[in-house]
Amino acid sequence: MASNDKGLLICERCGIEMKSMKAHFSYLGNEFKHDVMRCPVCGQVYIPEELAKGRIKTVEMALEDK
């Protein structure tokens, strides 16, 4: 699920609307995928602060403890 409550998002490089798509992440040797807002053309990623301070932070903490 993409997290974006900031309305329309435009990729400045491609000039088109960003969409919710899968992106790859890694931390401490672990890899996973998550739906975030991305540019369908160039793949530019946008992560809002709520996601960074919410789910991402939680996963970071869990991996640091593992």
């Binding site: 900031k6 309305g7 329309l8 998002l9 435009i10 990729c11 793949g43 990623v45 403890d65």
Partner: protein, 791 residues
């Protein structure tokens, strides 16, 4: 003499070498009363339950210990009172009254009815006095087949009706055979009946069935059932073989045990011995082991007179109980107290965490704790057996680093900060004009970052003393002592820092060092012991340095105040010159007009402010907890001589002055720099000593940041450099996202290992305004091919 290379020193410590010391921990030692009590009642828990109003639980605890609560609460002759520390301070705890109270008040008097499978072994109990009944109760409740042989027509000897009712109650769920009017006169009678074990408790003038004689043949007679390592059972086993009795039973022979008055124990001691014998016989029947420990408990608990000084007025007899135990670590050390874990548990968790193996197949319970802990040396100083928890934590960090399992985020910011302090924009080796091997000033990297003007003022004062011939100043070294590297567990990095320090010293002709930071001094003493160090405060105190401004000026550092407490930083503790440094600081403070009052903490334990060991990245809550706990120890403002303590307390809202702020009030700056300001200060300091105090850091464009965002950046350790780097990067690469509704441009950039996100607006006049900034540790992985295009 030139200083040696740090390669000489072994910086590595191993977890396995740190484990054994924890065996000596006294946390599990019984209280004095528990050790003395023949039933070893857990008095700490007992009185605590009463305090909490849990009378039924207190009763169960008591009943499980004594077997017959009604009897013992009436007959016990209170040996606990002889050892209660309160016996000379208001009177010992009236435990027997408390025991009688819970026995009378409990609403759940019925014993537990355990649904256990019957055990096939048969035990003969000879004598139905208190000792025999205790032994029978323990064994019957374990569902052994128990038969009691009593010479008289009834059980219980002299017990009155109410006591006999207690016996009946405790046996209400148990089955046993009672043979009254049956006197056993020889072991042969029991042997013939096919019993597996027998307990002889025939009373003061009873027939011991020759057991004591058997034992006398083989070993000293101690106290029979509680016969230490020479139990009667063992004697019988030996004697049995000798007398050809082992043919009565296949395998091991019948185990004979004795206790109670026949062996000299009377009253509740006899009962305690019977209960103990029940456990001993159970062990014998399961393992064949006839060697068993005596029913004697000793305690190594050290007397702690501090406990007699009460913080609150007790609200009843149970709350008068001091709950005697060794808990110096819980009282003084933040790691056990914050995590609510005793040292041995921390040891076990660190051991489990650092054992080689993938985290998928083993637990890593202390991965965060290891790094979210102060390394302050406090436990070693307060622990009666001097457990060095810090050594274990450091060894654990080193192990995690060697195994490449240390989460980089736990130390990254401080390591980058160290790199900045040691980098070309901030580090400096400045020879004095008349340089010769004398004394060089080593203010450390934190004082200059927090308060560069204090470093300048102190150095100017040193030059003044040099001009007067009081000292021979050979220069100044601005750099880090390497503590962040040590704390990160990266011994190679730390070694490289120590070597760089030695190289700087060599450039100045290997001088002795004048230290301001107790942490730096501690690292030198431990890792570069051949480098001679002196404390700036000793030198200033000897030289009679006093403030440069009148005391009522109120111009800086809160020195208009006169009532203070000195906060000794943890890192001064155990230093070779600890006494002199402490005395020097006090002399300087008094010279600056301060009236000093002692801290309420007992003794003179120097404790951590939450900075030592850099726990703040792995657990900011812990660092805050420590700072707040220290700040709350007195209402008086603090004078300290570690700038990290000052900053930690200031952040916790505590009025605190560095001793140099009192000496140089004009140089004291009431503003506290943020994370970016600290770096700018270091760079300013270098430029100042190089003769260029005017130039300021320049940035490629002007960016407006409001106070709230600046505060957020400081809290989250986001530097202005990181923000500029991110904006420049996304503008240059075009990797920006536009929010049409707000007009904000967003994007990210990875600096070091951290991903920084910014949002900003740009108006028609190319003025930039930061609208948001945040970071995360997780990395965004770009696909190698996207939309069929290789990237």
């Amino acid at each position: 003499m030139a200083y040696l290379c740090s390669m000489v020193y072994d910086l590595e410590i191993r977890v396995e070498d740190q484990l054994k010391q924890f065996d000596a921990c006294l946390a599990n030692e019984p209280a004095f009363c528990t050790a003395k009590c023949p039933f070893h009642l857990d008095v700490r828990t007992f009185t605590e339950l009463i305090e909490q109003g849990q009378i039924n639980s207190a009763y169960k605890l008591y009943r499980d210990a004594v077997g017959f609560p009604h009897i013992v609460s009436r007959l016990c002759d209170r040996p606990c009172e002889q050892v209660c520390p309160l016996r000379n301070a208001g009177g010992p705890i009236a435990l027997r009254e408390l025991e009688a109270m819970v026995t009378a008040k409990t609403t759940d008097r019925e014993p537990n009815d355990y649904n256990l499978q019957a055990r096939p072994k048969r035990i003969a109990v000879i004598g139905a006095g208190l000792s025999g009944l205790g032994c029978a109760l323990r064994l019957a409740s374990k569902k052994y087949s128990v038969e009691i042989f009593e010479r008289d027509p009834s059980i219980g000897g002299d017990l009155d009706e109410a006591m006999l009712a207690d016996v009946e109650r405790q046996f209400m769920h148990e089955h046993y055979l009672l043979h009254t009017n049956t006197e056993i006169t020889s072991r042969e009678e029991i042997n013939r009946l096919g019993f597996d074990a027998a307990y002889v408790a025939t009373g003061a003038l009873g027939n011991d069935l020759g057991l004591s004689r058997c034992l006398i043949d083989t070993a000293p007679y101690t106290d029979a059932a509680g016969g230490g390592n020479n139990p009667l059972g063992e004697a019988e086993e030996i004697a049995g073989n000798r007398h050809g009795l082992s043919d009565l039973s296949a395998g091991v022979g019948i185990g004979w045990f004795a206790g109670g008055a026949v062996t000299g124990q009377t009253g509740v001691d006899a009962l305690a011995q019977g209960l103990h014998a029940g456990a001993v016989i159970d062990a014998f029947l399961r393992t064949g082991n006839l060697v068993y420990p005596e029913n004697i408990m000793e305690t190594k608990l050290p007397p702690d007179p501090k406990r007699l000084v009460r913080q609150t007025v007790p609200s009843g007899e149970a709350s008068r109980c001091l709950k005697c135990r060794c808990d110096a670590c819980m009282e003084y050390c933040d790691v056990p107290a914050y995590y609510k874990k005793w040292p041995q548990r921390i040891r076990d968790e660190v051991l489990a965490t650092t054992m080689p193996g993938r985290s998928e197949v083993k637990a890593t319970p202390a991965k965060r704790l290891l790094n979210a802990a102060d390394i302050s040396g406090v436990l070693k100083n307060v622990c009666p057996v001097r457990i060095d928890l810090d050594a274990l934590l450091l060894a654990g960090r080193q192990s995690m680093h060697r195994q490449k399992k240390m989460p980089w985020a736990f130390h990254d910011f401080h390591l980058r900060d160290m790199a900045h302090a040691d980098g070309e924009t901030a580090a400096l080796v400045l020879p004095a004009k008349n340089a010769s091997p004398g004394l060089a000033f080593f203010p450390g990297c934190q004082l200059g970052a927090s308060a560069p003007s204090l470093v300048i003022a102190a150095y100017e004062k040193l030059r003044e003393l040099d001009a007067k011939g009081a000292i021979n100043l050979s220069g100044l070294i601005l750099r880090c002592c390497g503590a962040p590297a040590e704390w990160s567990g990266d011994t190679e990095l730390f070694r490289s820092k120590l070597d760089a320090i030695l190289s700087d010293l060599h450039a100045l002709g290997d001088p002795a060092l004048i230290m301001t930071c107790p942490t730096c001094a501690q690292k030198f003493a431990r890792y570069l012991p051949e480098v001679r160090t002196l404390s700036l405060y000793e030198i200033f105190a000897d030289a009679g340095v006093v403030p440069t401004m009148p005391q009522d000026d109120g111009g800086g550092g809160g020195n208009a105040l006169s009532h203070w407490a000195i906060f000794d930083p943890c890192s001064v503790s155990g230093a070779k010159n600890e006494t002199k440094v402490k005395a020097g600081v006090r002399k300087l403070a008094r010279g600056a007009g301060a009236q000093l009052f002692p801290l309420p903490v007992q003794g003179s334990v120097a404790r951590c402010c939450g900075f030592g060991g850099q726990p703040d990245l792995a657990n900011p809550d812990f660092a805050e907890y420590v700072a707040k706990a220290r700040a709350a120890e007195t209402d008086l403002p603090y004078i300290t001589y570690c700038i990290n303590c000052r900053d930690a307390f200031a952040a916790a809202g505590k009025q605190t002055a560095h001793i140099l702020e009192l000496l140089f009030p004009k140089a004291a700056d009431k503003t506290r720099p943020d994370a970016t300001g600290r770096r700018e200060n270091r760079e300013y300091l270098k430029r100042y000593f190089q003769g260029d105090p005017v130039s300021k850091p320049s940035y490629p464009f002007t960016l407006f940041i409001d106070d709230a965002l600046r505060a957020k950046m400081d809290l989250e350790k986001i530097l202005l450099d990181d923000v500029y780097a991110t904006i420049a990067h996304i503008r240059q690469t075009g990797g920006q996202v536009f929010h049409p509704e707000s007009g904000v441009h967003s994007g990210y950039c990875v600096v070091g290992k951290t991903t920084y996100w910014v949002g900003y607006t740009e108006d028609a006049n190319a003025q930039f305004r930061l609208t948001e900034v945040y970071s995360h540790r997780m990395q965004i992985e770009q696909e190698k091919v996207w939309n069929g295009v290789k990237r």
